[in-house]
Symmetry: D2
Subunit: 178 residues, 4 copies
């Protein structure tokens, strides 16, 4: 018996509008509903929305063992959003983005600027399956449905909603990715 | 209300004898009993013993929300010991030791060779309170009771057993360390 | 008097065709001719071509003080291409890409797959000016002339050749960038 | 023909007295005289003294191709001491110490507090030969002449002066270490 929890990385921008917040919230919620833990960069915007969605799903479903993890920029980890349960400080600043995507068995991208683009492309390099939420726009929507290069035979999955995204990732984790 | 779990780092060697395994097991158990999560390097020896102690304490006490975290050397995280619930792969090899001690609000050292010595000295630099188990020998015992330099006014705490170590760390976390 | 050498990062794919090799070679050469040192990922393809161009320019011009630096994936640094003079091993694998772009005062992208895309987007986040060689295709050409997001007022500069790229970067370094 | 320069890491504290400054200066000088480049943490104290010694040795001997490298804590690299020629910013803070010792084919320790102790123990783990200057005291002197653990058959070399230290390291590099 393994006690290992599979984590899903949620990536996306810090400054977002209300519809994007709602989508990210739903992604966090869906991750818990499907039996995964959540990992993200730990701060505001998409990261906070997804963590909040996961947190409220845990309460609603009475789930306590699936963690909400933040991989943080500084050396103390004190500035994480209030929904982060497990803070992993790195002191690495922006370079900790590599660890955010590495920590997930799969990655879901919501909206996003250059930071999200770097995370999507690193997730691709690390062989993680990637789903992008089309309705939230940003870099995630721009690369949705496309392969990033010829080193993998799949594409970034274009998801219309959180449920589609998590189903794709769950299936990929079950049967092997990238 | 904060949902944040405080983690305690357990550090120590990979190749250990039976008495040291038992001490590390007790440290893991005591961490859970005192309401903390555990973080370690995720592999064998002290890391496995502490994670096992924490895992069995969780079952015994019916605790599910305190995670057992491994900060791992490779990019996939697949080689962690069986008691690790949340694996954080880093792809950084030995350099991930900085993250292992940074992740804890306090650090407990059991035995240990050069890797443990580097972790104790980094924990000191990051301002984390450090307790060393005297009976397990190794570098932890050698620096127990001593300050590592003059940048801090405290010392590495010399603990005779797991309970002493966790009580010291818990007290330091409550009232501020370093 | 400062003895500090300004480095320019050259990024691009490992598997490239002959025309791209020639372009990368010219970029390396132009970097030395303009009084900069070169830094890259240290292996094959664009990295080797640029390092070779820089190396032969040093010989041709009798320049000895401008270094050719490779920021390397492993812990020993032994697998660098033969033109690398200063190897900086990191043991960080793909995550060392953050350091490759951070090490340059500016970044020149030639061709490239997902790894190059991640480097371009990290260079953008670190505020480094970025020039992309249009004729070499790849991700560099796809983002040439575009801003990556709204956090900066400039764009990735679209360069038709090595000379245009280095002139743009040199000008940006002199007068402050992004 | 290889163009690769071998680097020697110099480690030691930021706050040092005059005799220690002189010893570190001599270490920097000796590194250049023996045909190596120097790498260090890039800031004050031992790092500055060694870089200054190397810099003045380069002028005195008319050597231009051996670089003086600083592996720096922040993301811009602007705060390096004035003798650093090649700055490698990391944004990793204290965790960049792993890269400082990894960058050298051998490591020379002068004085030092907890930071130096962590570097000595990481150098040991990475299999680098380590020489410690006994007269400068600090952690370097405390571990001089001792093995750090049983994973290597050698010891930290106890050197009475810079010349002894560099001769030991040069010999180890030539014939294989650790």
């Amino acid at each position: 018996m393994t006690r290992r929890v599979q984590l899903i990385s949620v990536i996306g921008g810090r400054w977002i509008d209300e519809p994007t917040y709602k989508i990210a919230y739903n992604v966090g919620s869906a991750i818990i509903e499907h039996g995964f833990g959540l990992v993200c960069g730990g701060y505001g915007g998409v990261m906070e929305a997804a963590a909040k969605g996961a947190s409220e799903a845990k309460v609603r479903l009475g789930i306590t063992h699936l963690p909400i993890v933040g991989i943080l920029k500084d050396e103390t980890g004190k500035a994480a959003n209030q929904y982060i349960e497990v803070g992993i400080p790195t002191g690495m600043g922006v370079a900790r983005n590599a660890l955010v995507v590495m920590a997930g068995s799969g990655v879901i991208a919501v909206g996003g600027m250059s930071g999200t683009l770097s995370e999507i492309s690193m997730a691709w390099q690390y062989g993680r399956p990637v789903a992008a939420l089309v309705p939230a726009g940003g870099w995630a929507a721009k690369v949705a449905g496309e392969p990033l290069d010829t080193t993998r035979s799949d594409s970034v999955f274009a998801a219309e909603n959180a449920e589609e995204a998590i189903k794709y990732i769950a299936e990929k984790i079950l049967h092997g990715a990238g």
